[in-house]
Symmetry: C2
C-alpha cells in the first residue's frame, strides 16, 4: 500500500520525556493532558510546565491506536456530473464544517471520489474505522453509501434531504419555502403569468423548489399550468433550451422563477436578446444568491441560502452523534431569505 521510503521526522517530545522532566509517571502526564480531575494541583502545574517547555504534542496515532477513536471526521463529496459546480457552494460549506470541527477538536478528512471505482475505495476507507463519522454531501439519488455506512454502525449526517425513505440525520435548507417566497413575491408585485425553469427532477432541490413554486401559485389563487414549468438542469445550456421553448409557447410570460442563479442569469441575457425588458416586461428571480447576482444587469433578485450555517449544523449533529450515540435520526431545516433586487422590481417602480 505504501512502499515509498520514509522521511526525516521532527522528533517530537513523548509522554515519557515529559514525565521524566516533571518527575512523575507517564500515567500522570496522560491524566493531565486529558484533563482528568484525579491529579493534584501542584503536580498538574509541574506537568504543564514540562509540557510547555518541551513543546509536547500528543501523538495522535498512538492515542488513536489505544482509544480506537481517530478524532477525525470525513467529509465525502461525491461530485455528480461535475457541472453542478458553477457556484461557490463547497467552499462555504466546507468553511462552516471546518470551523465547527476545529472548535471541537476534530480533524477534517476530505474525500472526493470521482469515479465509481473511487467510491468503493472510499466506502472501504470509511468502514475501516479511520474516522469517527462521516458527512455526506451531494449524493446521487441511488448512492449506496448512506445505507452501507449506517449498517456498519458509522454515524453519518447528510447535507441535503436524503432520497427515498433513507432514515438518516440530515441538514437541509428550506428549498420549498425559499421558492415559495420567491414566487409569492412575484405575485405580490403584480405578476400573473409566472413560469419556472426547474432543476433536475431527480434531485431533492429540483423537486422541492418546484413544489415551492406550486405552493405559492396555489396560495396566490393562480392556476397551475404545467406548460409554464420548463425542465432545466441548473446549467446555462439547459436553461436556454427551456426558456426558448417557454417563450415560444407562452409569449405572454411576465415573470420567471429560475431554480438557480446560473439559470436566472441565462434567462436575463436571453430575455434581453428577445427584446424583452427586465423587469419592465418580465421579472426574474433566481435561487442561490451568488456573488454575481449584484453584477448582473439588472441586479438579480434571488433566494439566499445559509450555506455556512448548514455546515455548522452538519458538523454539530455529527460530533454530537459520535460523542453520544443515539439511533434517532435528527433533521435540521434552515430558513432561506429572499433578497430583492432590480430584476423583480414591481411594474410601478421602473
Amino acid at each position: 500500500m505504501a512502499q515509498p521510503s520514509g522521511r526525516s521526522q521532527r522528533t517530537n517530545a513523548t509522554l515519557e520525556e515529559v514525565a521524566l522532566l516533571a518527575g512523575v509517571s507517564r500515567a500522570t502526564v496522560s491524566r493531565v493532558v486529558n484533563g482528568s480531575l484525579r491529579v493534584s494541583p501542584s503536580v498538574r502545574l509541574d506537568v504543564q510546565a514540562a509540557i510547555e517547555r518541551l513543546g509536547y504534542t500528543p501523538n495522535l496515532a498512538a492515542r488513536s491506536l489505544v482509544t480506537r477513536r481517530s478524532d477525525s471526521i470525513a467529509v465525502v463529496i461525491t461530485q455528480p456530473t461535475g457541472q453542478v459546480f458553477a457556484d461557490p457552494f463547497f467552499p462555504r460549506l466546507l468553511r462552516g464544517i471546518s470551523s465547527t470541527l476545529a472548535a471541537r477538536d476534530r480533524q477534517l478528512i476530505l474525500l472526493m471520489p470521482e469515479l465509481p471505482a473511487d467510491e468503493a475505495r472510499v466506502a472501504n476507507y470509511l468502514t475501516a474505522g479511520h474516522v469517527d463519522g462521516a458527512l455526506l454531501v451531494s449524493l446521487h439519488e441511488d448512492d449506496p453509501l448512506p445505507a452501507r455506512l449506517t449498517a456498519a454502525g458509522m454515524p453519518i449526517v447528510l447535507g441535503g434531504r436524503p432520497p427515498k425513505g433513507v432514515r438518516v440525520s440530515y441538514v437541509d435548507v428550506d428549498n420549498r419555502q425559499g421558492a415559495q417566497s420567491a414566487v409569492a413575491h412575484l405575485i405580490a408585485t403584480g405578476r400573473r403569468v409566472i413560469a419556472t425553469i426547474t432543476g433536475p427532477l431527480d434531485t431533492a432541490p429540483g423537486i422541492d423548489r418546484r413544489q415551492g413554486y406550486r405552493d405559492a401559485l396555489a396560495e396566490g389563487g393562480l392556476e397551475l399550468d404545467r406548460t409554464l414549468e420548463a425542465l432545466g438542469d441548473f446549467t446555462p445550456e439547459g436553461a436556454a433550451a427551456a426558456l426558448t421553448e417557454l417563450l415560444a409557447v407562452h409569449p405572454e410570460i411576465d415573470a420567471i422563477f429560475a431554480a438557480s442563479d446560473q439559470m436566472a442569469i441565462t434567462a436575463l441575457s436571453l430575455l434581453g436578446a428577445s427584446g424583452r425588458k427586465v423587469p419592465g416586461d418580465v421579472a426574474v428571480v433566481g435561487f442561490d444568491d451568488l456573488a454575481i447576482a449584484v453584477s448582473t444587469n439588472p441586479q438579480l433578485t434571488s433566494v439566499h441560502q445559509p450555506i455556512e450555517e448548514m455546515g455548522h449544523e452538519m458538523a454539530r449533529l455529527l460530533v454530537d452523534a459520535v460523542d453520544a450515540p443515539d439511533p434517532v435520526p435528527r433533521r435540521v431545516i434552515l430558513a432561506t431569505e429572499l433578497i430583492q433586487r432590480a430584476s423583480s422590481a414591481g411594474r410601478s417602480s421602473p
Copy 2:
C-alpha cells in the same frame, strides 16, 4: 484535549487474524500487504485470500505509529478577507489535489483557519508531525507559515507565487502571459484605447496580470498610460468604482481588460447602463473563465486557468518531496488559454 466518551467500533480484522487464517506469521502478512517481493507466490495467494475473506484493512494508526509517517497531507486554505470567493476556485483546486493524492494513497486533511488564533493552532498541528507535508493556498502576503514549516523540516508546496523572497516550491498559473494574450487579442482586433481594471496590487495575481497588460501594450507599440490603469480589488463594488472613474477620464475607451470575470461582468452591465454597446463600442475581456462567462450578454471572452491541473501539480510536487526529500525548491508555471467569445468580437464582425 479530547475528553468526550468513545463510541461503538467496528472490530476490524487484524494482521494477527489474517495470519492465523492463512497459516503464516504476522510478518509475512505484513509483507504481502506492503507488496514486498520476498514472499513466495503460493503463500501470497493464501494470504490474499485470507485478507479478502476477513475484509481486512490495515490499521493506519498502528502503521503510522511505527513508520512515523502518516501518509496524509494537509491542505491549508488561509482565506483572506472571505470576499475573494466569488468563484469556484477551491472546489476545482481541491478536486485536482484530491485525485492525485488518492492515486498516491495519501489522505487529504483540510485545514481552514479563520482567525489568527486558528492559525497558531494549525501551525502547531502541522509541526507536530501529524501530516507528512502541507499544501498552502491563498496565503496573505506576510504569512509566517511557510517559513515556520520549512524551518521545522516539513515539505511544503504553495499554490500561487510566493511573496517576497521566500524560497519554496510552488505552482502557479501564468497570470502574466494570460493577461498579455488577452490584451494582445484586443490590439489585434483593432482596439486602441485599452484600459485595465486591476486586481489588488498587494497580491501576486493582481501584480502579474497588470504586468501582462503592460507587456502586451509595449509589444503592440501602444504607449502606456497610467490613467488607463484603474485599481480594482476583484469585487463588483471595486470594479464599479474603478470603471466609473475610468469612463469619466477616458470616455474614448474602446476596450477593457478586467483582471477577473467578476469585475468584467460588472463592467458589462455598467457599460450597458452608460449606453455603450459591447463589443460594438467597447470590447471586454475577463480573467478566470467562470462558468457564468457563457451566460452573460454578450458572452464573455476570458482567460482560462487550468485550476485542476494546478492541484495535480501541487500534490505531485509535494508527494515527490515527501518520498524523496530534496532541498531544491521546484516551481511549475501552467499556461493559460484565452477563450474568445462575443464580448471582444472584432469590429468588423458585429
